[in-house]
């Protein structure tokens, strides 16, 4: 797009690149903000249905579909309060830190082949690293609020997120190992074709690892049953007790953005990314090389596919939230250190051995019958990129330890 703007429209390069960067940033921002609007509404409806209520029904006509917008306007109009003993600078800056971390991780997340803010060859690593920074905002908020409830919440969040990065990193390493690259685009492309090509169904170990990833992802974005940082029955509202108005809503946009992000990451790593359960485009005879416009629409289709999978992941998180009771802090730590980490480690070793001894499935051609069907958007990925994966795996494990 930048080349088009610079070469065809005739913009000077600096302006072209600024426009392109602005468009990409605006799109990502809209994914987060628009997504948050929809997800908050969905959360209300799902919570209501699970608790045998109706949820919002009136705002905006039927189904209360404008409820989130009404809430947004209310939040805009609310007074921006700051407690008396608070550290002003840190109190003000904390919501933006949280939001920026969530936003930055989206930069490397591909929405379809080539639909990515900035394609990094260490995309997985970048996303995981940046996602871990979101807790900064929470700790700053908890500290700066000058409230013991906030501080308790922040400390719990810090302990929880730092612990859960260990098994999360191990789970993420497994698809990286299978794909031989940390490039998210290539990882998703390698799962093209029928759903049997997804890394979820690659072997029994990856199947288990996926569920460990789900657990750790829910915990790392601080959702129930792991929402100890804002346990309202113990800590009033945890780290955001003292926040009101727009600053408070920034925390929530960050939370919903992160939920969407870990779901999309799960979709890319384990669920084939933008490659559907059925290679519709391939079956219809539409594949790469039929022209730019066709390619564009195929990718648009892929993006819808990925967004659908990610939305499904977010809905599952809501379902979990309103179904399971909150864990105690010691149970949270036990889940992480005594269950998730060893399971992830064993499954990592298992997937490695599987890849060594049974690379083509149990019986070649039977276990994964459609392995040869490709959408054809990317031919022969990997190759030279296969080598650097092991040091990364080691590095992640070391950082985690």
């Amino acid at each position: 797009m930048a080349d088009f703007l610079i070469n065809s429209v005739g913009l000077p390069p600096w302006l072209g690149w600024t426009v392109v960067a602005g468009v990409a940033a605006a799109l990502i921002l809209n994914v987060i903000a628009g997504g948050a609007l929809v997800f908050i509404w969905a959360e209300r409806k799902i919570a209501a249905r699970i608790q045998d209520r109706l949820g919002p029904t009136r705002t905006g006509g039927r189904f209360g579909w404008l409820q989130s917008l009404a809430d947004g306007i209310k939040l805009l109009a609310k007074e921006d309060l700051m407690p008396e003993g608070a550290d002003g600078l840190l109190f003000r800056i904390a919501p933006y830190v949280s939001f920026c971390a969530s936003f930055c991780a989206f930069i490397a997340l591909p929405f379809a082949f080539d639909f990515v803010g900035q394609r990094l060859n260490v995309g997985v690593f970048f996303v995981v690293a940046v996602l871990g920074l979101e807790v900064f905002g929470v700790i700053l908020a908890g500290y700066a609020s000058a409230s013991k409830w906030s501080l308790f919440g922040a400390m719990r969040e810090a302990a929880q997120v730092v612990s859960y990065e260990v098994p999360l990193g191990m789970c993420v390493v497994v698809p990286v190992m299978l794909a031989g690259t940390m490039d998210l685009v290539t990882i998703a492309e390698k799962q093209a074709g029928w759903f049997t090509n997804w890394y979820l169904f690659h072997d029994p170990f990856t199947f288990v690892v996926f569920w460990v990833y789900v657990t750790c992802a829910v915990a790392s974005v601080n959702r129930a049953p792991f929402d100890l940082a804002e346990a309202e029955s113990e800590l009033v509202a945890g780290f955001h007790t003292e926040y009101s108005g727009l600053r408070w809503s920034f925390f929530f946009m960050a939370e919903y953005g992160s939920m969407f992000l870990v779901s999309a990451l799960a979709a890319v790593l384990f669920l084939g990314g933008w490659n559907g359960p059925i290679p519709v485009a391939k079956l219809l005879g539409l594949s790469g090389g039929t022209g730019d416009t066709a390619n564009y629409f195929l990718r648009l289709l892929g993006m819808v596919n990925l967004l659908g999978k990610a939305t499904l992941g977010v809905l599952v998180m809501m379902w979990i939230r309103w179904t399971l009771p909150r864990l105690r802090i010691d149970q949270v730590m036990t889940t992480c250190l005594k269950y998730c980490t060893p399971i992830a480690a064993v499954m990592f070793a298992g997937a490695m051995l599987w890849q060594l001894f049974l690379p083509g499935g149990v019986v070649r051609g039977v276990a994964r019958p459609a392995g040869e069907i490709r959408e054809g958007w990317l031919e022969g990925p990997g190759g030279a990129a296969a080598r650097p994966a092991p040091p990364a795996a080691k590095a992640v494990a070391q950082v985690a330890s």
């Binding site: 390069p13 690593f125 871990g132 900064f136 700790i139 500290y143 810090a158 990065e165 080598r387 990364a392």
Partner: protein, 227 residues
């Protein structure tokens, strides 16, 4: 993409470099000047984050992500400790005496002078690097770390001669592990075991009675008492 970056190189690369460099240096000064531990940690995070930005700008994405994960993430723990240790009023602000400031200034200035002199004395770094495609440095280094020297193929050499940096890498890893275990050992809670009622009763028993007991609880009690 990279081709496009080259087009805009003159403007953007320089501009962003100065922006990130300014941020990194400015917040580094902020760390020194601030007197609140938590704010210091925040400035440190921002400074290190800007350094990660510099790495990304240079195309070293892996190092940039590493910087984010290790340094910025590690500062997170520092921040937590800062909050935990200084949440009480008397420790919130830390004052540095004027003498310390002068001393620190002298040390910092001499180190800076030394580094600048060393950096400018390297011939290869003086050239303007823009527009030159150097050899991709990260991949051979990464493969060398796991024991494969793709940059220096072992021509005719027997297998195992050019083993890369796997051994030093593993030695460093084991060192880190040893340091971690040592730190955990030093920092472990030294529990003072309170003797149970039956052990108290045993210890006030006549000495002959004590001596007859071979190892078991008496020695354990002694060991516990010694701690």
């Amino acid at each position: 993409m990279t081709g496009g970056i080259m087009i805009a190189a003159v403007n953007f690369h320089t501009l962003l470099f100065y922006l990130f460099a300014l941020l990194a240096c400015g917040f580094a000064v902020g760390v020194v000047v601030a007197d609140n531990v938590v704010r210091m940690a925040l400035y440190l995070v921002l400074s290190l984050g800007a350094t990660a930005g510099l790495f990304f700008l240079a195309g070293a994405e892996f190092i940039g992500a590493m910087q984010l994960m290790i340094y910025v993430g590690g500062t997170l723990v520092l921040l937590v400790f800062g909050v935990m240790l200084t949440a009480q009023a008397p420790f919130v602000s830390i004052k540095t005496s004027a003498g310390d400031r002068v001393l620190a200034g002298i040390v910092a200035a001499s180190l800076l002078a030394l580094l600048l002199q060393a950096a400018f004395s390297v011939e290869a770094w003086r050239r303007p690097g823009l527009g030159e495609e150097g050899p991709p440095a990260a991949t051979p280094l990464g493969t060398a770390l796991v024991g494969v020297r793709v940059d220096e193929p072992a021509a005719g050499a027997p297998a195992g001669v050019r083993s890369g940096y796997l051994l030093p890498f593993e030695i460093v890893s084991v060192h880190l592990l040893v340091v971690l275990v040592g730190a955990a050992y030093l920092a472990r809670a030294k529990r003072r075991r309170t003797p149970r009622a039956i052990e108290v009763a045993a210890s006030v028993a006549p000495p002959s009675e004590m001596r007859r007991r071979t190892t078991g609880s008496a020695s354990a009690l002694a060991a516990g008492g010694a701690r």
